[in-house]
């Protein structure tokens, strides 16, 4: 898919890739990828490990050369520009701070290379330290900083150079969960503060969804879909996106009948489901489809009347409650087929008395179930 994020003309893009491809021997790591990142955007490339996202980033930074295609920064091709002259900077997965230099020297490294005056550098370094909330840590060694502080230094070290875009290669991967949650917010704040374009690589969908203005979902070297986080979540173009972004209940089945409103599918274990057609590939009578339903789209009720008006209904019994505060889930077994469903549990207290084995009724509307033509490749990442 080679749609652009915005319909504006190309020269408003800070960073653009045109038909980018990279092949290692017979292995195609990146396959004909095109996209543009507008000024000030937080753009994420989301995909499972090994999908080629790091290769794209390394090609933009200049550490790898594309087999074909072009990379433009501020409208100019940079294919012939070595990494040290490209106006983009990279935050590495393991940060790659220089351990033999102090915090201030790390931040000053790029400025010294630019040939700035001593007082100029000192001033910029101090202002960067102030902005990342470490005003007095300039003389400390890198080892004295915590993981989150090192993270901020690694980003500040790049941002003082005022790059056209900052490339981030899963920089939160090395942090523990609590700090990762905190750094998501912090990163977003830093991006606002420095008003720089961010290109962010991650395999963690929540990082991509929380921070980004636009997300590209990548799989096996190709972009499956580019859009806002809301687009990807509510209107996935492909079965892979539906499965990879967010959690879903999934059925595999055959199309029994088809009209303009929707599609009637019989799943492999004999459940009849009504769904709406989604994705680019048109559904055909008798064709194999994958149906995705979000856990929060399913209404859970003890009373059958509440779900009686919904197109899809299931009688089930509670297997267990997966309590996780506001994100609590109920695991329900379909009484007829034995299949398991993941259902969001509203925290209104209504369900606090649910007991294991209790009879419950599930229902969801036809529009909440999205049917995609099944591909031979199975989409990964769904629960």
């Amino acid at each position: 898919m080679s749609e652009r994020v915005d319909s504006e003309s190309t020269d408003t893009f800070d960073l653009e890739c045109r038909n980018l491809a990279r092949q290692y021997g017979h292995f195609i790591a990146v396959d004909n990828v095109s996209f543009g990142v507008p000024q000030g955007d937080f753009f994420s490339i989301l995909g499972p490990s090994g999908c080629g996202k790091t290769t794209i980033l390394r090609m933009m930074a200049g550490f790898d050369q594309p087999t074909s295609g072009d990379i433009l920064i501020k409208g100019k091709s940079v294919l012939d520009v070595p990494p040290n002259r490209r106006p983009v900077n990279m935050v590495f997965q393991q940060l790659a701070l220089f351990p033999m230099m102090t915090v201030a020297e790390n931040i000053a490294y790029g400025l010294v290379r630019k040939g700035l005056g001593k007082s100029d550098i000192a001033e910029k370094v101090q202002s960067a330290l102030d902005r990342i909330g470490l005003p007095t840590s300039g003389d400390k060694s890198i080892k004295q900083l915590s993981g989150g502080q090192q993270q901020r230094v690694a980003i500040a070290r790049c941002l003082v150079l005022e790059p056209a875009a900052l490339l981030l290669d899963e920089p939160l991967g090395a942090l523990d969960l609590k700090l990762r949650e905190h750094m998501k917010v912090e990163l977003k704040k830093m991006q606002d503060q420095f008003a720089t374009t961010f290109v962010y690589i991650t395999h963690d969908q929540s990082e991509a969804l929380v921070m980004s203005n636009h997300v590209a979902v990548m799989n096996e070297g190709r972009f499956e879909q580019i859009g806002t986080p809301q687009d990807l979540y509510y209107h996935p173009d492909t079965a892979f996106v539906a499965g990879f972004v967010g959690d879903s209940n999934r059925w595999h089945g055959k199309v029994e009948s088809l009209d303009k409103d929707g599609v009637k599918v019989v799943s492999a274990d004999g459940v009849e489901l009504l769904a709406t057609s989604a994705g680019d590939a048109p559904l055909v009578q008798g064709g194999e489809v994958d149906i995705f339903v979000r856990p929060e789209s399913v209404v859970l009720s003890i009373d059958e009347d509440r779900v009686s008006t919904m197109e899809n209904r299931i009688d089930g019994e509670l297997i267990s409650i997966l309590f996780n505060g506001a994100n609590s889930r109920a695991l329900i077994r379909d009484r007829r087929t034995g299949g398991e469903l993941d259902v969001a549990l509203p925290q209104t207290g209504e369900f606090s008395s649910l007991a294991r084995g209790q009879h419950v009724h599930l229902g969801w509307g036809m529009s909440q179930a999205k049917a995609f033509t099944a591909k031979n490749t199975t989409a990964g990442g769904a629960q």
């Binding site: 930074a61 990279m90 590495f92 393991q94 790659a96 220089f98 230099m101 490294y109 790029g110 290379r113």
Partner: protein
């Protein structure tokens, strides 16, 4: 209480081999050597306490000039070994992957399967007047007559660098191996060129390896006997050769022992100065490399 004494006994038994080794093989011989160096033969089998051996060293120009020459040549050999060994080590550690890496590393080791004596004779076969190089030069017409390449300082230097190379490459490869590639890439990414990345990132990281390699190479070179004597002939003027002469040829153990102690003092002093200049500590260097 019983447990404590048995633990102490265990510790003592564990330490015993190294204590025996230290005392019997290092401390005792050196103490004896020191006593020998501090006496003077006044008559047959009659010795007196004296510092005459040390004063003789400073008053006889041949001795202290040989001494200075040995030190300077050793420092030069160490620097040359570092300059040649660093790119080799960098290539092995950072540019190669997998089997080729192991193979090249092994290739550095291969010469050491042959004794130093045989290796040095190998050089002599190549470099002597009737040797291979001389023959090739004559055959190609670059030289009119036989060329003698042995018995000069340059040849000694070649031999010393060749002998020392492995001891420089091994610690360098191990420190460079631990350098994260991302550090080098970050160095470039932030605007550095090859020179600044080398000076600001690679060399500071490799410093413990550089220092420990240099210490080992310097000590080996300073104490080398075979290479300078065989390749430099009787003009080699290497200080270890002087010590050998005093002990074996002149049978002047007193002066020989004094020379031995001066060599020990010299090597310790130069290494101390080297560590001071590079702002490294001995424990740090030996711990990391």
């Amino acid at each position: 209480m019983k447990l404590r004494t048995s633990a102490q006994l265990g510790l003592f038994l564990l330490l015993a081999p190294i204590l025996v080794w230290l005392v019997a093989l290092i401390i005792l011989p050196h103490a004896d050597m020191f006593l020998v160096s501090m006496r003077e033969k006044v008559a047959l089998r009659t010795y007196e306490f004296s510092v005459a051996n040390y004063t003789e060293f400073f008053t006889e120009p041949l001795y202290w000039r040989t001494f200075a020459r040995t030190a300077i040549m050793s420092i030069l050999a160490t620097i040359l070994t570092l300059l040649i060994g660093f790119p080799v080590a960098y290539y092995i550690a950072k540019m190669l992957r997998g089997r080729l890496k192991g193979f090249l590393f092994l290739l550095c080791l291969v010469p050491f399967w042959v004794s130093e004596l045989v290796r040095t004779f190998g050089w002599m076969i190549l470099l002597r007047e009737s040797g291979l190089f001389s023959g090739v030069l004559q055959w190609t017409g670059l030289a009119d007559g036989p060329v003698e390449m042995l018995y000069n300082d340059a040849t000694i230097m070649v031999g010393l660098v060749y002998t020392s190379m492995l001891f420089m490459v091994v610690p360098l490869v191990s420190t460079l191996d631990s350098l994260d590639d991302a550090q080098v890439e970050a160095g470039y990414d932030l605007g550095g060129n090859a020179f600044t990345v080398l000076r600001q990132i690679i060399i500071p990281h490799a410093m413990p390896g550089i220092v420990s390699g240099c210490i080992v190479v310097f000590m080996l070179t300073l104490g080398n006997y075979l290479t300078p004597v065989l390749l430099g002939g009787k003009d080699s003027l290497w200080f270890t050769a002087q010590i050998y002469t005093q002990f074996i040829t002149r049978f002047n153990w007193e002066l020989g022992a004094a020379f031995g102690f001066l060599l020990l003092a010299l090597s310790s002093m130069i290494i101390w100065a080297g560590l001071k200049i590079t702002r490294q500590t001995f424990t740090e260097t030996m711990g990391e490399a």
